[in-house]
Symmetry: C2
Subunit: 210 residues, 2 copies
């Protein structure tokens, strides 16, 4: 038994919405928006449905609030990368490594991706936010680094309008883990995967480039 710290009513009240959002995340991930019952969310917190409606007007609003709550600002991560030093190659690999950790290996981000794919039709704003906060900044950052590398002579000239090709192994790992969840496709060993990914990205398949 963990020692229960005594909690005041005000503290409990302040905690409730977060408990509900956490529970909502788990239930919406398990069953999707329509398949989730508000009562399942309440049960998981240990309260009744009425309490949920004290804090959130509707199931829709709760879903949106949950997505916002878990969409941790990605620019923090991209901010870290501002401080990186080294040539374009080193900085590109650093960022791709961070993205791999943050996207492919982090369960929350992975499941958010599932919800974006599954429920995007029902919540168009979700798609726009996801694009503006995740996809666009990542692509822009990778674009910029590739152009730097080209300018410095490190990289060959490659068409920058397809730089999603560069990050593709990260999204692919995310999606494969989402679908198979360690059941049929083994979770890759991080170091070995990144080594193979970076080696192929930098040097290509061919023994003798033409």
């Amino acid at each position: 038994m963990a020692v229960q710290k005594k909690i005041t009513r005000a503290e409990q009240k302040a905690l409730r919405p977060i408990q509900i959002l956490d529970a909502a995340f788990e239930e919406f991930v398990r069953s999707g928006f329509t398949g989730t019952r508000v009562e399942d969310i309440a049960d998981r917190v240990g309260v009744t449905k009425g309490t949920v409606y004290v804090y959130f007007e509707t199931k829709e609003k709760l879903f949106e609030a949950m997505i916002n709550h878990f969409s941790v600002p990605f620019h923090e991560l991209l901010g870290i990368t501002e401080g990186l030093s080294g040539n374009a190659t080193d900085r590109l690999l650093s960022i791709l490594g961070l993205l791999y950790e943050q996207i492919a290996e982090d369960r929350t981000t992975r499941e958010l991706t599932r919800l974006v794919i599954a429920e995007g039709h029902r919540f168009p704003d979700l798609i726009d936010r996801h694009h503006d906060q995740f996809i666009e900044p990542i692509i822009a950052k990778v674009d910029a680094l590739i152009l730097e590398g080209v300018a410095s002579g490190e990289f060959r000239e490659i068409p920058v309008e397809f730089s999603e090709i560069v990050v593709a192994p990260i999204l692919t790992t995310t999606v494969l883990r989402l679908i198979f969840d360690d059941r049929r496709v083994p979770t890759p060993n991080k170091e070995a995967f990144l080594r193979a990914y970076f080696d192929l990205l930098l040097n290509g398949l061919l023994a003798k480039p033409h």
Copy 2:
């Protein structure tokens, strides 16, 4: 007005299940399993709910039948590739090109991917089938071709346990189109995309390989 060919009752009867499966695909894609009403499917065909239940026992069975109906055997495609000639490089690129057409550019396959991601929890068999019929054969084929290329001296030695890295741009394009559906992320021009993809895959980023 199109000329309506007179249709016998037997012909109509034979047609019904297919009409229902087509309608089910559209509705399940639009709203997911739980969000779709059997009556919506019936409306789309122009019949009533009762008729749907003449042909399919339950909503679950209808969903599964729909998935089976649209999961066109992928080994046909992989079969085509048996007849390919040329060195390992040419054959690998041919297959990747075919996969791009079949997966990223084909709306049906794309939306099936959405359903696998969104409804996989509810239909575990679906995941297993998808793995056995799609993922595993593709990976096996690419593995085999890479090993051939290594054996013939065309390719450098790369760890074959990560050959999903090689096909990643295809799945990534699929998923990005699934999420943004031409709205925020432009549909790539096929030829230009494949050129960039293959160039990067074969030669890598670096100007001077190390």
